[in-house]
Amino acid sequence: MSTTIIEVGEAPVELTLRQKWSHYFVIIYAILAIIIGVNLRDSAVFATVPYSNPQVGITAFYPHRWMIDSSGDYVFRVRDMAQTGFKTAMQVNIIPVNSDMTTRNILETLILNRSQTDSTFRVLSQEPIQLADNTEATRMTSTFVASNEDPFLESIPTVVERMDVIAVQGGQAIIISFLSDALTFEQNYPKFEQFLNDVDF
């Protein structure tokens, strides 16, 4: 004796046009939401604040919610205070140069000064680059070790990677620097790239 089992299923129902469009809209809304979300995130992450210093002749856009400081021996410096550990920073320095000075001379001076003040300073690379406005510049990458200045705390020193972009223009050298924890340098670098593209001097 044999038994035959016959499955009786519900007959497929053709979706109505309205149902089809509903599904399509849900998918489209989801994609749109993702796109808008990504854009919103990007605009938040890459939001900038204008900076202008007519005395020095610099305009720039630095990341929103980074703390600005112009009390040091630089034109200005911005730091990401939310960063745990070493605070990622970008800063602009200007040094006067004479007509005989080359970018190479400026680099040597920088290396000499930093070597004398910081025994952990090391140069990683130097290369010529062209800025967004076709200005010829030189890029130097270096490292040093930073530590909390408070001697009473137990802070572990951080290896910092530093990139300096040096351009000579109008009797002065402008040095635009980016400093970041070496472990997060690549991750933070796009912000510096944007900063570099927007800076005008």
């Binding site: 703390m67 400081d69 112009s70 009390s71 205070m81 939310a82 910081d118 705390l153």
Partner: protein, 758 residues
């Protein structure tokens, strides 16, 4: 404000918590006005080192105290400056990181101001211990404030703080009382504060604090030449690399026990100059015709005598043979020769054959010139009856002694006293009395006498630069017409004119020295007074030659440097002691006494006052002295003519510190930014502008989540706080206030905060 609504909700809830935590802050130290923790942290070990072979060898050790947040350290000169006994070239600064533990080397420092005679030095932290340069502005070290040493009195309780060993021991706090004051010409009746506290040699350079926690003195002793055989030094390193640590290795001087504190009043000029970063150079070219000679002969003392009091010129009022019962002041006078600022001298006093530390002076650096009359004594301190023996030591070797009996009634014998000098007017009166007279043919002295017997012998001997030049005739007797008591005037004369220089008058009764006093002849005559310096003026120039011909200027623009000062002088004898004082806004920051080594008369004595960052705004004054008399003064303004206000100059306030935890894992969070916003701004202001100028302090948490705000908080001020870390909701709080109600003492506030992961 750029916080999200969720963050804002959190912030609001945290605000109450933060305020609550702050208002209930747990005091970290006992409730006392002596801020033990701050003093501990500000007390450092100073090690002088030099490289021998490839190893750093410790050559000298002492204690020190941080006196400014940007790293100025007050200590002794003898273990800071390189010299015969301390031959190092690098100063290593060790901090007390944890209470009860030995100090840890953290920094290198350089000497920025020093006075070897006063044995004081100010060091500035310039590098990390590994040699990396330090930005002074980035330092925010705990420091103590200088108190008023003139305000302390006998039997006041003090606390002396320092390191008792050469680096293996933690800080010690020694309590004691002020047992007296020692007098010297360098600082008058309060040249030294004596204490009963038990202070070991390496605590020299540390701090002595009053009950309000202010530094009122620096425990000071100068170690003698290191000699392992005497046990006054310790060898701890194999400096000669022979595989053994023995007497052939570098021996670190440790000194003996200390009973003296150098009063903090001596520190202020050095501190002012160091804080202003001002240097003064003189003399510049073309002025000096001779150079000062450094004594090479063996230093010695002679002609010890006693006086119950000292006049304003530092001269004994009389010479005594005994002192009556109940006396409370006594000065030992003596001549000195060939002394240098590195000479160590000591006074040991025995009473009835028993050492008496109350009136002794432990070994200290010499703070006088190379030759002259000196005294050491004490006032305001009762002397018990007894037979006293005073013995002076130079570099540990006993020199002359003198004995004095204290007890019984006053000496009713014949006496001379209170010598003053001046010029005789036409009526025979002595005018222009003082101890600095103009050069001329005559100089006169007036003195008091009492209990003189007519017919008794007396003598007056005049000296010029140590050589006898005039004396009363042998056999001179006291005239009956002068009476037993009164005033007498005598003179020294020279038809060719008296030479400018240093003079002395000694008066004898029956062959016994009864009174002695030095005086100086200098300058031209201006009425009854001397005119020594004139035409003091200032200018600025890029070179010395330009300065000599530049027009005088009395008001300079802000940041000017260098500024040159010039003056003319007349008739100053070689070796005449003169003093330069510089003040800014009436605060003395430079005072130096030196022997004149130039031509007797000249013009444009040139000195330079400079600062690397330009002279700070202020009103600067130059005063020129001979003896205690100011002979010329002039001033100039820089910028607005007033010193800028340093809002961080005060150590007063309450320290804020704490720990930031992850609210979920309860672990400390590393790298959190703790930002303290100035009372002029709110969190909303700050998070709109994100401008560092609105902050008064920032701190970053360490690997345990601990942080310390390095600016002391003030009572009554309203602060705002922002805590920020990527991946966590921020904490903000406005209106944080410390009041007497919520925090009655000055102990640090220690708070725990929790950040919630986003």
């Amino acid at each position: 404000m750029m916080l999200t609504s969720k963050a804002r909700l959190f912030a609001t809830s945290w605000l109450m918590l933060v305020v609550l935590l702050i208002t209930s802050g747990v005091p970290a130290a006992a409730q006392t006005s002596l801020d033990v923790e701050r003093i501990q942290r500000a007390t450092v070990l100073v090690m002088q080192t030099r490289i021998i072979g490839s190893s750093p060898i410790i050559t000298c050790v002492g204690s020190g105290t941080i006196v400014s947040r940007d790293g100025l350290i007050l200590t002794n000169a003898h273990h800071s400056l390189s010299g015969a006994n301390c031959s190092g070239d690098t100063l290593i600064i060790s901090l007390n990181i944890r209470p009860g533990e030995p100090p840890v080397a953290r920094y290198q420092a350089e000497v920025v101001q020093a006075n070897p005679g006063l044995d004081l030095a100010l060091l500035r932290i310039t590098r990390q211990v590994d040699g990396r340069l330090i930005d002074r502005a980035s330092l925010a070290l705990p420091f103590v404030e200088i108190g008023d040493s003139a305000g302390v009195g006998l039997d006041d309780t003090i606390t002396v703080v320092g390191y008792p060993g050469i680096g293996n021991d933690p800080i010690v706090f020694e309590r004691g009382t002020i047992s007296g004051f020692a007098a010297e010409p360098s600082g008058g009746d309060r040249s030294w504060i004596k204490t009963s506290a038990s202070i070991t040699g390496t605590m020299s350079g540390g701090g002595a604090y009053n009950q309000n926690g202010l530094l009122i003195g620096i425990p000071t002793t100068a170690p003698l030449t290191p000699n392992p055989a005497t046990g006054n030094c310790i060898s701890v390193q194999d400096s000669n690399a022979d595989g053994l640590i023995n007497t052939n290795d570098v021996c670190i001087p440790t000194g003996g026990f200390i009973n003296l504190l150098r009063p903090s009043a001596f520190v202020r000029p050095l501190l002012q100059a160091a804080q202003l970063d001002i240097s003064i150079s003189f003399p510049l070219e073309r002025v000096i015709s001779t150079t000062a000679t450094i004594p090479t002969a063996r230093p010695h003392f002679r002609y010890l005598g006693f006086s119950p009091s000292v006049n304003p010129a530092g001269m004994p009022t009389t010479i005594i043979r005994s002192l009556p019962t109940g006396s409370n002041s006594l000065y030992l006078f003596f001549d000195y020769e060939n002394m240098t600022p590195e000479t160590v001298y000591e006074l040991r006093v025995n009473t009835n054959g028993i050492p008496n530390p109350n009136f002794s002076v432990s070994p200290v650096r010499w703070s006088g010139g190379s030759r002259g009359l000196w005294y050491v004594g004490s006032s305001g301190q009762p002397f018990p009856n007894g037979n006293y023996e005073f013995t002076l030591f130079i570099d540990g070797i006993a020199g002359d002694s003198a004995r004095l009996v204290i007890g019984g009634g006053p000496d009713e014998g014949a006496a001379f006293s209170d010598i003053v000098f001046g010029l005789l007017d036409s009526a025979g009166n002595v005018t222009g009395t003082g101890f600095v007279l103009p050069t001329g043919n005559t100089a006169s002295a007036r003195f008091l006498y009492r209990n003189m017997t007519p017919g008794g012998s007396w003598a007056a001997i005049w000296y010029y630069e140590g050589q006898e030049v005039q004396r009363t005739d042998d056999g001179t007797v006291w005239a009956e017409s002068d009476g037993a008591s009164g005033t007498k005037t005598i003179s020294i004369q020279s038809v060719n004119g008296l030479l400018p220089g240093s003079y002395r008058l000694e008066l004898y009764i029956e062959g016994r020295l009864a009174a002695v006093s030095d005086f100086t002849l200098a300058g031209g005559q201006d009425g009854s007074f001397a005119r020594i310096f004139n035409n003091t003026h200032f200018t600025t120039a890029s070179t010395v030659q330009e300065a000599l011909s530049a027009a005088p200027i009395s008001s300079f623009s802000a940041g000017t440097s260098p500024i040159f000062a010039m003056f003319n002088w007349q008739l100053i004898g070689p070796g005449t002691l003169w003093r330069i004082e510089w003040s800014v806004d009436n605060q003395l920051f430079f005072s130096q006494t030196q022997p004149w080594s130039g031509a007797p008369t000249g013009s444009n004595f040139l000195m330079q006052i400079a600062s690397p960052a330009g002279l700070p705004d202020g009103t600067y004054r130059l005063d020129l002295f001979v003896g205690q008399i100011q002979f010329d003064t002039a001033q100039f303004r820089v910028g607005i003519g007033q010193l800028p206000i340093d809002r961080f100059a005060s150590a007063e306030g309450i320290a804020l510190r704490g720990q930031v935890l992850n609210s979920v894992s309860r672990d400390g969070i590393q790298g959190v930014s703790v930002m303290l916003i100035s009372e002029d701004y709110s969190v909303a202001d700050f998070t709109r502008d994100w401008n560092q100028a609105q902050l008064i302090a920032t701190a970053t948490t360490d690997r345990n989540g601990r942080f310390e705000v390095n600016v002391p908080l003030q009572r009554g001020a309203l602060y705002s706080i922002v805590l920020l870390a990527e991946g966590f909701l921020p904490i903000t709080a406005d209106g944080v206030e410390i009041t007497d109600e919520n925090h009655p003492d000055n102990s640090p506030i220690d708070i725990t905060l929790e950040l919630t992961p986003e």
